[in-house]
Symmetry: C2
């Protein structure tokens, strides 16, 4: 049986000795719940901020009020600031962030229900991805959480590849 | 069918116009995930701190290092400071906190796997409860999260009773 993505992320984090921090908005704690279902996850998972209210994004994660006012809570700019913010707040190596519209309310023509941004911040790297998920509230949370963990795994696997290069050259 | 406890907590929070904040350690985000499964929960759920690492408890929730050193992370004293800390951090009316040993590792003779403390902080009230849950890691998380939400419901129902008294007297 394939291991769940949160277990794979854990194995890679341990191998690379990196510590993770998470800033969740629309996933509401699901990413953290999945990560902490893995025994021993306290070795690499430092913690999370579930910033449901905008005030939590501003005060805890250092998201700029102007960013929220200009681009909105569900935007590339906001998830990048969330990911950087939680990484710094918890002195982590990698910060992951998610902000989206889980529905059933809150959708607009520009940003319909299911619109989701995911951010990743590491030393020398800040990246964001946009997704459009379908389904009910819980399904959207699950898809967003799964995708965020997959992106962490992709990033960590790249780190493994980078580390292994000198060995291949040697 | 009975409504899940997180939906009942939401109905009560809305009726009483109170805002909730959560500090989770061993439940790792599950309480926040359950609360945010309820559509419209952003009206009363402000956010959470998942303080897995002790440094997160100290820096974000203002838990005193001495409290952790003397009583340990899984203790009445720590969950009380966590509940107060998250309530103040997010300017919430009610702060709920959980710290326990989800296992399979981390248990001791004094504090075996399943040992869980739950704290609740509101204006003029700080309370903590001790539980001993059984089962695997996920089962312990689920029991701890369910119990924390039940304690919130109990507290909010008391608030409803208090509010209804003048009407009964009048």
């Amino acid at each position: 049986m394939d291991e769940p993505v949160e277990a794979v992320a854990g194995v890679l984090a341990r191998q690379l000795d990196v510590r993770l921090a998470v800033a969740e908005s629309c996933t509401g704690g699901l990413i953290s719940h999945l990560l902490t279902n893995v025994p021993g996850s306290s070795d690499y998972f430092l913690g999370s901020v579930i910033s449901y209210a905008n005030q939590a994004k501003i005060h805890l994660l250092d998201v700029k009020p102007e960013t929220l006012a200009i681009y909105g809570a569900v935007s590339r700019e906001t998830v990048l600031e969330m990911a950087r913010g939680v990484r710094q707040l918890l002195s982590a190596d990698i910060g992951i962030s998610v902000s989206g519209i889980a529905g059933p309310g809150g959708g607009t023509i520009d940003k319909p229900v299911g619109t989701t941004w995911i951010g990743l911040s590491a030393v020398g790297l800040d990246r964001a991805w946009h997704f459009q998920f379908a389904g009910g509230r819980l399904e959207i949370k699950q898809q967003a959480a799964g995708m965020a963990l997959n992106l962490v795994v992709d990033y960590l696997q790249q780190g493994i590849l980078d580390q292994s290069m000198p060995v291949q050259d040697g």
